[in-house]
Symmetry: C2
Subunit: 215 residues, 2 copies
């Protein structure tokens, strides 16, 4: 699957614009929206959010800057929609692929593996999220569904201490944050075409995270 | 030890300015240099490198902008010296505190612990390094002593596979990168005055990293 298709996928997640259009009522124009998110993600990732202008994004798309206002009002709207979309998509993916029962340490391993694979598949958007989410206003940041992964991890550590698959002295919060770092750090060093495939990388990181907490 | 003292410490690491002054020939003016690095670190960390101006830093210090040119020529010089100083200091600290012999997995645990404690003690400078080093020219980045920690980690994984303290299927490079992420992520969530002390946080992360690779 190409980066381009994946980026488009972000634009296709449930979205409700100011004008009230949602996934269910998607119009042809929404392909333009997906393309806008894709170009914005690439530009924010390459040049940084601060150095990017709506004019530059419009130029890249071959649109008039004024036409962007059909979709968004400000550059921050664009960052917010982009980041929100990728977080929603990640949540959907994890909900779909991580089982709800079974030994907690097994589920933790799957969760980390799927998170790393998702991160690599959506490297541009996750890079923008991890680098630039601080640029959003506090109000906007509070609306991002950012706590899903960490809450799942914490709950799995608690569950694993109960079912005996995670060591009794594990600290759920600190353990979850440490695993988050081990997994997210991939965005800083992963380059396509390296020695290991995304699946191999994800498997190894997930194995290490499992062992770090296993009883 | 206060953040302020620590920040000063960064300015006191071996430094050779364009005018050839070094630690050995430190002049009274070098206290001003340490203060300049301290203010720059705080400003870069709070506002971001792009949004910071030399004029703003001069104002903060109560200096004329022209006086800054005694120390540096550009804003990038300041970022470079700041980042280089903290990396040199980290190297010195790890060389001093991590033993050269003994079971590799024990040394790995000490290395991670000391790295995390250092990172927390120098949170402002490490944040600037981790967020802003990309803003340096490639030429400058190539001059940073950034590979010390990862090289040490990789070597310890290799050593541990030989001495039998690290699992035979561990991948030295991927393992080192994953541990780097687990340890460095602290800069994103650590806030002074939380539930755990820096030492407790460092101990737990180091324990998890040890177990992630232990035979």
């Amino acid at each position: 699957m190409t980066g381009k298709t994946r980026v488009g996928e972000v634009g296709r997640t449930a979205r409700k614009s100011r004008s009230g259009r949602t996934e269910a009522t998607r119009k042809p124009g929404d392909e333009r929206w997906a393309e806008l998110l894709q170009v914005a993600a690439k530009t924010f990732a390459d040049k940084g959010y601060s150095a990017t202008t709506l004019q530059g994004i419009a130029d890249e798309l071959g649109m008039l800057k004024g036409s962007l206002y059909y979709y968004i009002r400000t550059k921050e709207d664009l960052l917010f929609e982009l980041v929100r979309s990728v977080l929603v998509l990640a949540e959907e993916r994890l909900a779909e692929r991580v089982p709800d029962d079974g030994p907690a340490v097994d589920r933790l391993e799957v969760l980390v593996r799927e998170h790393v694979i998702f991160l690599i598949e959506h490297l541009t958007e996750t890079t923008v999220y991890l680098h630039e989410a601080d640029q959003l206003t506090a109000d906007r940041r509070a609306k991002l569904p950012v706590h899903g992964f960490i809450a799942r991890l914490e709950k799995l550590v608690v569950d694993g201490k109960e079912d005996g698959t995670i060591r009794p002295d594990a600290d759920p919060h600190l353990g979850a944050l440490t695993i988050l770092g081990a997994a997210n750090w991939v965005y800083r060093w992963y380059r396509p075409g390296g020695n290991s495939s995304p699946e191999e990388i994800a498997e190894e990181i997930a194995r290490m995270c499992r062992k770090s907490l296993e009883a």
